[in-house]
């Protein structure tokens, strides 16, 4: 069930296409099994690659002997880090975080040291995949195991084993004399916290821990690389960003981007985890060495052990408020795993920790810490879920202590237009207040929760969403339809919501736009499908292209009607001039007969955030004998600015909520004392199934984004942020026990509440 709240009065309410729910353009292919995902591809002469991975969490690589593998008939090539050019120490922005190419190269194939169990150290290509696996087993790697460090607090100690001997903390303070595992120390400061806490009547400080959690996309990483005889490299791959893959490949292989074509196939989920390269450079090198296309697809355990999970964390959050519920100060100390290489998501975490509130005084210290786990990657609003768990639980305690309703407390302190965030930026018009109010108006809030062992919880969350670059071209066809060529991989229906914006601007139907997602040779530079930017930025580019088409159509009309372009007007897709009138379609048919082709161009690079806020309301029931938590009812309210295709906006809200619920209740990496992940499969890495969840009710609030002609805000990421604290707050009301660690799995909950069920 979904309800749309009345949109902000600044936005015109009557759209013809925007806000409707057309069937997605790639729908028929996706429900008949015809859509081509990368592993569906069979390129002529194709061979198969497999990795050799470290069995140790931390080890020096003494030697690699590939000779036994190479002797096997059908084995065509092997490679190690020696086959990659020496990387340079250069940092680039990939759209959802920065990367240092030296680190990226070292992650793709280990140099000198294996830094986590599963770290790739070599690879082999053979004529079939079984042979490749067998050959990989015959590659002999000699390791010298080293002590491993597996949690942030241990890794930060002075006596912790070091992963990188030359890593000196990047910090605003004096540069440390010695290397450590702390890659960077970020600091934000606003006002004067000591003054702020002194002015508070109540101060609460809590410590929190979260476990390592994976994005969990159903499609493993997979690529097919063809190093052609003319020196050109073509890679078909499952990626969120074909241009950023091209960029990474160019840097890692030290070749010009012009020699590389990245073809994004349909993709089976990404959530931030399919931006960094893993198998692509290796498949490319193997292809170069054996002269045949090479396919590498990871097995599920490789995905868990060697591709970016989101960090585990240790956090301390302190908040102070006056007795009438006004926040006065906040202090956060946050340590996030970076995984094996620096460059984790502590930055956005530190920026988001107090982002929902108008906090006059605050300091934030954030630490990016390396340890012997796979290099972390973005996972939907990276860092924000962690800090929201901490802050929203403390807010809940403060509100309770002050005997103020949890939504009223939040309304009283909510970030609004003009609020300055602790990391500096001032919010433009944003919709957190409207979301909180929508929850208060909701049927869920107004329905009392009754029954034993049940509780209701609330939490809110924030994500910036970015802008970044998108390019599109749009060709008017002879029958008045428009082919829209864009480079944003479609992970969730965006090709349709982008097409709808073009359609709206031109005054045609969504069905009359034919969107195509194309490769890096066929469209201008386009940043990742991620960062909640795709419907916003590529949609903006489509809008620009539509305006460009409109201008050309006006000129065509003027020619046909023998008047000047100034005399031609356009309204609702109807062109009028010199007493004549034609619809877009009819005009296009005429123009095709007499004029030059009409091709529209749109290129954008919006520098703004579109600022998404979400609020969750959840009812739970806890079985006191087992600690199992059942979600009885779940409502997510989110400010979408303008929901272009409401079904797909709802889908993002529901999907992100489900991931947040899994994160809250059951998902975690279990590590043994040897630093090995014990549960690298979908059996014991427990993502929610259909049977674990109720319907997820959605309320879309529309507070128009001033930076988009249709008011669009990004929607894809913020839904994952509020569920863990909302559920923790609900469990508290059901059991009387507060939780400060994720996941709140049954043994953990039972252990905490069992003391209360004595005498039963």
């Amino acid at each position: 069930m979904s309800t749309e709240v009345a949109p902000d009065t600044q936005t015109p309410a009557t759209y013809k296409v925007i806000g409707t729910r057309p069937v997605r353009h790639d729908g028929a292919d996706k429900v008949t099994g015809k859509a081509v995902y990368t592993d569906d591809l069979h390129v002529p002469n194709m061979v198969f690659g497999a990795f050799v991975r470290s069995p140790h969490a931390h080890a020096r690589i003494v030697s690699i002997d590939t000779s036994d593998a190479e002797k096997m008939p059908g084995v065509l090539a092997t490679c190690t880090s020696a086959d990659l050019p020496d990387p340079w120490d250069k940092v680039d922005n990939l759209g959802e975080g920065c990367v240092n190419y030296a680190h990226l190269s070292g992650n793709v194939l280990a140099r000198n040291k294996a830094l986590y169990k599963g770290h790739a150290v070599a690879a082999v290509a053979a004529t079939d995949s079984y042979l490749a696996q067998e050959a990989a087993r015959r590659i002999r790697v000699e390791f010298e195991p080293l002590p491993a460090t597996m949690c942030v607090q241990d890794a930060m100690r002075n006596d912790a084993p070091l992963l990188h001997d030359e890593l000196i903390t990047h910090t605003l303070d004096d540069k440390p004399a010695r290397p450590s595992n702390i890659a960077s120390h970020i600091q934000f400061e606003k006002g004067n916290v000591d003054e702020g806490f002194a002015a508070a009547d109540v101060v609460i400080e809590r410590e929190f821990k979260t476990a390592t959690v994976h994005q969990g996309y159903i499609e493993p990483h997979v690529s097919v690389a063809l190093w052609n005889e003319d020196g050109r490299l073509k890679i078909w791959t499952a990626t969120q960003g074909s241009f950023v893959v091209r960029q990474q490949m160019a840097e890692l292989l030290k070749m010009p981007v012009s020699q590389i074509t990245i073809v994004p196939c349909e993709i089976g989920g990404g959530f931030g985890g399919k931006i960094s390269v893993y198998e692509q450079p290796v498949a490319a090198v193997l292809s170069r060495k054996c002269g045949r296309p090479v396919k590498i697809m990871m097995q599920r355990d490789e995905v868990f052990e060697a591709t970016g999970p989101t960090p585990a964390s240790f956090m301390r959050v302190k908040l102070g408020a006056t007795k009438d519920g006004k926040l006065t100060a906040g202090k956060a100390w946050l340590a996030f795993d970076a995984g094996a290489f620096p460059g984790g998501v502590i930055g956005p975490g530190a920026m988001c920790v107090f982002s929902c509130y108008d906090l006059p005084h605050a300091t934030v210290d954030g630490f990016d810490v390396v340890l012997n786990k796979p290099k972390t990657q973005a996972y939907r609003a990276p860092g924000s879920t962690h800090v929201a768990f901490a802050t929203e639980c403390v807010i809940d305690e403060l509100a309770e202590r002050l005997k103020i309703d949890p939504i009223e407390f939040r309304l009283n302190n909510a970030a609004k237009e003009g609020t300055r965030r602790v990391d500096g930026p001032v919010y433009p018009r944003v919709g957190l207040v409207e979301c909180l109010q929508a929850i208060q108006e909701s049927d869920h809030w107004k329905t009392p929760l009754t029954g034993p062992n049940r509780g209701r919880g609330v939490a809110c969350g924030f994500w910036f969403n970015c802008g970044l670059k998108s390019s599109v071209t749009a060709n008017v066809n002879a029958d008045g339809t428009v082919t829209l060529v864009e480079g944003s991989t479609d992970i969730g229906g965006t090709r349709t919501s982008i097409a709808m914006q073009l359609a709206e601007t031109l005054g045609i139907t969504a069905e009359d736009v034919i969107p195509q997602v194309v490769d890096t040779d066929s469209v201008g530079f386009t940043d990742v499908t991620g960062g909640s930017r795709t419907t916003f930025a590529t949609g903006l580019a489509a809008h620009e292209a539509a305006l460009d088409i409109q201008k050309q159509m006006v000129e065509q009309a003027a020619q046909i009607w023998e008047c000047s372009p100034d005399e031609v007007t356009v309204a609702d897709g109807v062109y009028q001039g010199n007493g004549k009138s034609l619809s877009f379609k009819a005009l296009a048919v005429e123009a095709d007969k007499v004029g030059i082709p009409i091709v529209g161009r749109g290129v954008v690079d919006p520098q703004c955030s579109t600022n998404a806020f979400a609020v969750n309301l959840v009812d739970v029931e806890v079985d006191p004998e087992t600690g199992k938590v059942t979600i009885l009812r779940f409502t997510v309210c989110q400010d979408a600015g303008k929901a272009i295709h409401p079904s797909y906006v709802e889908g993002q809200m529901q999907g992100g909520s489900a991931q947040g619920i899994g994160w809250a209740l059951n998902e975690e990496y279990f590590y043994g004392d040897d630093g090995h992940m014990r549960n690298a499969s979908f059996l014991d890495y427990r993502m929610p199934t259909c049977y674990d969840l109720p319907m997820i009710d959605t309320i879309i609030v529309e507070v128009a984004n001033p930076d988009h002609p249709y008011g669009v805000r990004g929607v894809g990421e913020v839904p994952i942020v509020p569920p863990p604290p909302a559920i923790a707050n609900a469990i508290y009301r059901a059991t009387g026990v507060r939780f400060f660690e994720l996941p709140m799995s049954p043994p953990t909950v039972w252990n905490a509440i069992k003391g209360q069920t004595t005498g039963e």
């Binding site: 087992t626 059951n666 059996l683 427990r686 199934t689 049977y691 674990d692």
Partner: protein, 290 residues
């Protein structure tokens, strides 16, 4: 995975011959939901895989009032719960086969295979024990019968000798005042391996107020699924009540020697034995009274 030979005999003695001749590199394939994963992950290896689904004795599923239930070794979980009469007569078994994996797994996985895989956490084994089921085995030395509670010897190991295979399971006919139930605890609602499981079988007296006989069996809390002898003995003659169920739960803990692993701690598992025994006894008694 290394390739293997595949054979699908249609006669039982052909299967026995193949198993005896090929040595310890032979694996039996029923539903495949455990063995194929193990072969792929290198936990077990095979030179020869013998598919037993074409042998008629192993695919029979027959319920009769006087002989009870005859359950061929390769009969799938789904066939059992789809049969309304069997599900009604042996509800504890039906409980288990409905929750082994999801529908796709149940379409293939067999109770016989669940027994022969001999995981300590197997869901079908506690109900079989609770029902006093018998395993019928055939091999080069002939046929033999073994009570199910003696079948498993260690995690992944059982009493089958070289060349032997499980042919069928038989469960005694059920009197009208008997009832049973199986429940397991898992962190999600489906698709998980049991953290702990309990099966209860009871036979009540004519009044339905007293327990004449009971059998409790547990999974995932010992190296093999285990018969809770003390709890079962103690229940004889007890009244049907929450207090009795709870006490039986405490006694059932005596046979539990669980480990700490990522699925649960020993303490938690032991606690769950009490909870699940209590809950399954309540359901079993309810069903017995119907």
């Amino acid at each position: 995975m290394i390739d293997f030979e595949y054979a699908a005999p249609t006669q039982l003695d052909e299967a026995i011959r193949l198993l005896a001749a090929a040595g310890d590199g032979t694996r039996i394939l029923a539903g495949g939901t455990d063995i194929i994963v193990q072969l792929r992950e290198g936990l077990r290896s095979a030179d020869l895989v013998v598919d037993i689904k074409k042998i008629s004795e192993l695919t029979q599923l027959k319920l009769s009032g006087d002989k009870g239930l005859h359950l061929g070794a390769s009969v799938s979980c789904r066939r059992i719960y789809d049969d309304q009469n069997i599900a009604a007569s042996y509800p504890g078994l039906a409980d288990a086969v409905r929750i082994i994996g999801g529908w796709q797994i149940q379409s293939r996985a067999s109770v016989g295979g669940n027994l022969c895989n001999s995981s300590p956490a197997a869901d079908a084994i506690p109900p079989l024990i609770a029902y006093s089921a018998t395993a019928h085995i055939a091999g080069p030395g002939g046929k033999r019968m073994v009570p199910v509670e003696e079948f498993c010897t260690a995690p992944g190991h059982n009493i089958l000798q070289q060349g032997e295979l499980l042919v069928a399971l038989t469960l005694p006919p059920q009197p009208s005042n008997a009832g049973s139930a199986y429940q397991r605890f898992i962190p999600r609602n489906e698709m998980d391996i049991a953290v702990a499981g309990a099966a209860s079988w009871v036979q009540l007296d004519q009044s339905g107020e007293r327990i004449e006989q009971a059998r409790i069996a547990l999974s995932a809390v010992a190296p093999t699924p285990v018969f809770a002898v003390d709890a079962s003995e103690w229940l004889k003659g007890q009244v049907v009540s929450e207090e009795v169920f709870a006490e039986a739960g405490e006694l059932a803990k005596r046979v539990a020697s669980p480990i700490d692993d990522m699925r649960g701690t020993a303490e938690y598992r032991t606690h769950l034995v009490g909870v699940l025994t209590k809950r399954t006894l309540a359901t079993a008694c309810q069903r017995a009274r119907k």
